[in-house]
């Protein structure tokens, strides 16, 4: 009897051992080390260096408000738990500078140029503090979990997702003027995620009386297939939704300045060839006429003349 009992519980024991030794509890990245220093430092930097005109913010008080969630069960953290944190750290966003996005975090960061060109969520104080970080308490202890943290697949009310939900709502509420949205038209699952932060926590909080119009940019990866473009697939769903809400909107495929930025590390790709390559003088490349012979001189000169005229 005893032997049978042992035999049946052995696989269970093995599973437990494996879970404890190798596998992490959750699917997401664990708490970022030195979280407090990073958050305080980012707050200080935002206040002192980048936005002194936004007035004094008490970074210590902001951290104290944030840290409350680090005591909670990692599957019981709600967006409202960040209310005090948000109220202490929120500030106005310049009009016409809001940039919403899905599936192109790094591109948005590069394009926004550290808030000089646009102010996306990660350039606003509360967004900056949480950008690229992860945090959660351990499930059954009071310390932070540095191994792993829950994602939405583990449980809905996890610290990180609830943070971004709350931050998104605030960012949306504080946006005004022309609203810009950057989508990834090469994303296989669709450019506009019908269930996502933008769809569920930003669009619903747009302030109709403060917004003039909405401009959508559908960007495609250089040299990759164009899965969706303006007026297609999920982009069409987005357009319909905005229309229904009564917003004036427009859609542009591969908005030029952003495309130029994407071309920086694809400069030799044919999609990135600029018209006036002839205008730049390169010391190393011999002039065209010596390579291809005199027969091409005349059309070349004509092209050059027209380029200069432009």
């Amino acid at each position: 009897m005893a032997a049978l009992g042992l035999a049946s519980s052995l696989p269970l024991l093995l599973l437990l051992v494996i879970a404890g030794a190798g596998g992490a509890r959750w699917r997401g990245e664990g708490t970022t080390r030195h979280l407090q220093s990073i958050i305080l430092g980012r707050c200080a930097e935002h206040v002192a260096l980048l936005n002194p005109e936004q007035g004094e913010k008490n970074c210590t008080a902001i951290w104290e408000a944030f840290k409350v969630v680090l005591d909670k069960d990692p599957c019981s953290v709600f967006p409202s738990d960040y209310d005090l944190f948000i109220s202490l750290s929120r500030h106005s966003i310049p009009t016409d500078k809001s940039l919403f996005w899905e599936n192109n975090h790094l591109l948005v960061t590069s394009y926004a140029e550290n808030a000089r060109r646009f102010v996306p969520l990660c350039s606003v104080l509360y967004g900056r503090m949480g950008d690229f970080l992860s945090w959660c308490r351990q499930e059954n202890a009071s310390e932070l979990d540095y191994q792993s943290c829950p994602t939405s697949e583990d449980c809905e009310n996890n610290p990180v997702d609830s943070f971004w939900k709350r931050a998104s709502m605030q960012y949306s509420r504080d946006s005004s003027g022309v609203i810009y949205v950057m989508l990834n038209g090469s994303e296989p699952t669709g450019a506009y995620p019908v269930k996502g932060f933008f769809a569920d926590f930003e669009i619903p909080y747009f302030q109709k009386d403060k917004i003039t119009r909405i401009e959508i940019w559908v960007m495609h990866e250089i040299g990759r297939p164009k899965v969706e473009s303006c007026g297609e697939g999920s982009v069409k769903i987005l357009e319909e939704r905005l229309k229904q809400m009564g917003f004036q909107y427009s859609c542009i495929n591969d908005h030029l300045p952003v495309k130029l930025l994407k071309c920086v590390d694809h400069s030799t790709h044919p999609d990135c060839a600029l018209k006036s390559a002839a205008a730049s003088i390169q010391r190393e490349v011999p002039p065209l006429w010596s390579e291809y012979g005199g027969s091409l001189i005349t059309p070349f000169l004509v092209a050059l003349a027209s380029a200069i005229q432009m």
Binding site: L49, L260, S267, A273, L274, S280, Q282, R283
Partner: protein
């Protein structure tokens, strides 16, 4: 008006009471001015004329009216009181002033440049952790606390105009970061463009993409010999105060090492729209060019960028760039120059997408 009347009335009252007081005193004096009377009466007695004292009355009256002492106090006492009064005033002023001065922190020296950045230490540490945990997580085992302390000990309690490379030695020893070969990007008078480039080309590094450069970028700091605090009011200006200031010496020190550690092909983003495209007085011209090791660095590629609106010209053959070429020739390093290197040109186009030189082939 009513106030003036009140004041006048008060004065009258005071005078009245004073005169009454004086009268009383006179009477007192008349009645018993102790030692004078006694002396005189004694003298009268001594003079052997006890009964007749013709001067007595006269003297009394003169004493009480002309020679009368203020408020019935003798001359000596008056002087003592006056001295005491003055002393009290002096002490009354000196003590609070002294307390105030003692309470105030020792004053920092005044310089012509902006002071230490507010929240300097928090920003420094926060950046160190962001860099080692998020930006380059392969360096996550870095001890940022130690680095922060080594950084501040390089300038706290020291003369901010007497900074030396030695001061930063402990900090340098804690932070060794080798940039991969062919990935070093120098820059001169082209900060924004160079950093826009490495933000997109994440595998290329400017000095500000290494840990120390990332930590210190855009910050100001200085201390004082008379204090262990940072001077938040002002710091030495490079030109108007002294060139061996804490901040300049830091950048010279880290730039030198950045150049020493480079290998393979190195790059430099230069500004072709200014006259001294290659400036011998810049950090690049003074420090970095001369600390490249020819046995490690075989080629330097210069990308000379012009403002997008300006007419294309060949700055690669300008005299200042030629100067750079000569210096490298004597150091045995190959020099290649490109006007308006394409990827960086594209970055300029992001800001000016409508410009003719940014139009696409259809």
């Amino acid at each position: 008006m009513s106030q003036m009347v009140l004041v006048l009335r008060n004065l009258e009252r005071v005078r009245a009471s004073q005169s009454r007081h004086l009268q009383r005193k006179r009477k007192v004096a008349v009645a018993a001015s102790p030692w004078k009377c006694k002396v005189r009466s004694l003298s009268a007695q001594e003079s052997g004329n006890p009964s007749v004292d013709p001067m007595a009355n006269h003297r009394f009256s003169s004493v009480s009216e002309e020679e009368k002492p203020c408020c019935g106090i003798s001359r000596k006492a008056q002087i003592c009181l006056c001295v005491l009064f003055i002393l009290l005033i002096v002490v009354g002023i000196a003590v609070p002033v002294g307390i105030l001065m003692w309470r105030q922190p020792p004053k920092h020296k005044e310089w012509k440049g902006p002071g230490t950045t507010a929240h300097f230490y928090e920003i420094l540490l926060g950046r160190c952790y962001t860099y080692t945990q998020v930006v380059r997580p392969e360096q996550r085992h870095t001890d940022c606390q130690k680095i922060g302390k080594a950084f501040t000990s390089a300038f706290l309690s020291k003369d901010p105009c007497g900074s030396t490379e030695q001061d930063y030695r402990p900090l340098m020893e804690l932070t060794t970061q080798i940039v991969p070969c062919d990935k070093t990007v120098f820059w001169s008078k082209s900060s924004e463009l160079a950093h826009d480039y490495t933000r997109v080309q994440r595998d290329m590094y400017t000095l500000e993409d290494t840990l120390l450069g990332y930590m210190a970028d855009g910050l100001k700091w200085c201390g004082d010999t008379s204090s262990s605090e940072m001077n938040y009011q002002s710091c030495p200006h490079w030109r108007e105060d002294c060139s061996n200031n804490s901040v300049s010496v830091f950048w010279n020190t880290v730039s030198k090492r950045f150049a020493e550690d480079a290998c393979g092909v190195v790059h430099v983003v230069l500004n072709g729209s200014i006259s001294n495209t290659f400036d011998e007085k810049s950090t690049f011209g003074r420090v970095e060019v001369f600390n490249l090791h020819p046995e490690k660095v075989h080629t330097l590629k210069a990308w000379v960028m012009h403002n997008i609106e300006s007419v294309p010209s060949d700055s690669c053959s300008s005299s200042s760039v030629n100067n750079l070429k000569q210096i490298l020739k004597t150091r045995n390093i190959i020099f290649i120059c490109q006007n308006n290197y394409r990827p960086v040109r594209l970055l300029q186009c992001v800001k000016n997408p409508e410009h003719s030189s940014c139009k696409y082939n259809l």
